[in-house]
């Protein structure tokens, strides 16, 4: 079963889609504008396997929502569903970060097939990550425990006393990298190169956002971290003390 977020302000369409997704055995959640969608996907970090995104939304439109998600490192598969079918609209959709684009009106069977395709691709890439860790990460075990916390890279989650948090793909890879280099300071540049495979002078603040999130999962008090330390002028250091 997959969790799918439907972002659609037309009540009838949203209900019809939910009905069909539920009939296919998925769980579907409807939100009716872009701001709520971003809330769910970024702020609350709810776990979704795919997002069905309408373009003409009140407030923030679908293009803006998609690009905000990607900019924030949220790589959940997005299927854009919209009345705008002109080539420039389709291109803009892909540019803003959509994985697939379907103009309305659509065939139900095609819609479901495309969604299945996205979900399948996501599953495959998760299996790939779980089965063969990226070379940069060397021999890090799938499960790593410290101070009552367990990082499970195969199921992509953190388990702690207060429950478990799902991890995104990038969060998982970043954690693996930090675990591999435990005790040593690692620079932001090294993280960008080894985890993201980015060699240009990219803005390194994206990493800081990831660290802030990881601290929220790992630390008792994210404001004064014990495990995920900032090394001034360098980057970060992971200290898995007991």
């Amino acid at each position: 079963m997959s969790r799918v977020l439907i972002v659609e302000d037309e009540q009838h369409l949203a209900d019809g889609l939910r009905f069909n997704l539920e009939a296919e055995g998925h769980q579907a959640i409807i939100v009716c504008d872009g701001v709520q969608a971003l809330d769910r996907l970024l702020t609350e970090r709810d776990h979704y396997d795919a997002v069905i995104l309408d373009v003409m939304l009140p407030g923030k439109d679908g293009f803006e929502v998609a690009s905000s998600l990607r900019a924030a490192g949220q790589y959940v598969p997005i299927l854009m569903l919209t009345a705008r079918g002109r080539p420039e609209d389709v291109l803009r959709g892909f540019e803003s970060g959509a994985d697939d684009y379907l103009p309305k009106p659509f065939e139900l069977a095609i819609f479901l097939a495309r969604l299945r395709g996205l979900l399948r691709r996501r599953r495959w890439s998760q299996q790939e990550v779980a089965a063969a860790p990226a070379p940069a990460n060397g021999a890090v075990p799938d499960v790593f425990s410290f101070a009552g916390r367990t990082l499970d890279f195969s199921t992509m989650e953190i388990r702690a006393r207060d429950g478990s948090h799902p991890l995104t793909l990038m969060e998982c890879q970043l954690l693996r990298y930090l675990v591999k280099n435990a005790g040593k300071p690692v620079s932001r540049k090294a993280i960008l190169e080894d985890v993201w495979d980015l060699h240009e002078s990219t803005d390194t603040r994206a990493i800081d956002n990831f660290i802030v999130r990881l601290r929220r999962y790992l630390e008792d008090n994210p404001a004064s971290p014990r495990f995920l330390l900032t090394v001034r002028g360098v980057g970060y250091k992971f200290v898995p003390t007991v």
Binding site: E10, H12, D15, G16, L17, V35, L57, R84, P105, L108
Partner: protein, 298 residues
């Protein structure tokens, strides 16, 4: 964005040309200060050129703006046509491919009917806009009881928008029947469009009043008042333009074609009347008044 740039460019270009023409004109005056005929001829020609430049620029800017409104309209109509079609298709395919209970079936039929109605209204609106634009004046006129028409429109709106009957109040002048000379169908469109708008822009709590009055012995007023999102003062006139849509900043975006009020104004004018909007500003509701010539008691 690019349109705004285009407008800025043409306006700047116009200012430049006018400045050039004015300085040439001054030069001409200085050179020909002594001979009257070339002086007058020259000044007149320059005046003509300057006027021409300004007229062309104004025309151009107006066309660019009209073009923009037209684009908005195409987008809105595309959306208004495709969304209900997509929905109907989705429900039909669901009905076709899945095992459903009788109750689900009935529910789906209801949804599809509502979508068909929405589609019908959009198509009607677009066609009506074309028709009223064509005819402007003609058409068979007959005495019409505007109170009866208002009652029909209010009843229809209550059913169409699934409202409690108290949401739309009607205040007819009970002591007298207010008659106007016109086409009942068109007048029905006028009141219906205004009531629909009032409901659409009311948000969650709909409280609309339709009131009839005779401010002078020769005129009839139909006032439709809502307590909805209101209209910014600057836009009170523009809203009657074809394709124009109020820019709502809030989260609630109201869907529509931008034709409703244009139709209202065109029909009101064809009946020798007028329509105007009043609003205390954003969030404070709006009042639309249609003024029509009253038919004296026969």
């Amino acid at each position: 964005m690019t349109r705004r740039k285009a407008i800025a460019f043409f306006v700047a270009f116009c200012v430049l040309l006018v400045a050039a023409a004015v300085s040439l004109n001054i030069g001409w005056i200085v050179i020909n200060a002594r001979s009257i005929t070339p002086l007058i001829l020259g000044v007149a020609t320059f005046a003509l050129i300057i006027t021409g430049i300004i007229v062309y620029t104004v025309f151009l800017v107006m066309e660019i703006k009209r073009n923009e409104d037209h684009d908005t309209f195409i987008n809105a109509v595309t959306h208004e046509l495709k969304t209900p079609i997509a929905s109907i298709k989705l429900y039909l395919e669901t009905l076709q491919s899945r095992a459903l209970t009788e109750e689900q079936r009935r529910h789906f039929y209801g949804v599809m009917l509502a979508d068909a109605d929405r589609l019908h209204r959009t198509v009607d609106q677009v066609l009506k806009a074309g028709i009223v634009r064509e005819k402007r004046k003609a058409g068979p006129r007959s005495p019409v009881d505007i109170g009866a028409i208002a009652r029909e429109c209010v009843d229809l709106a209550v059913v169409r928008h699934h409202l409690p009957p108290s949401a739309v109040a009607l205040d007819t002048q009970a002591d007298q029947r207010l008659m106007v000379l016109g086409e009942a169908d068109d007048l029905r469109t006028v009141i219906s469009n205004l009531v629909d708008n009032a409901v659409k822009y009311s948000g969650e709590s709909v409280r609309v009043t339709v009131a009839l009055a005779a401010p002078t012995p020769e005129t009839v007023w139909v006032r439709v008042q809502d307590r909805g999102i209101g209209i910014p003062h600057k836009q009170l006139k523009r809203i009657f333009n074809r394709f124009y849509r109020v820019q709502t900043r809030g989260l609630k975006q109201v869907k529509g074609t931008g034709l409703g009020l244009y139709i209202v104004r065109t029909i009101a004018k064809a009946h020798g009347g007028r329509v105007f909007a009043q609003s205390e500003g954003e969030g404070r509701g709006a009042t639309f008044t249609v003024e029509l010539p009253r038919l004296a008691r026969v």
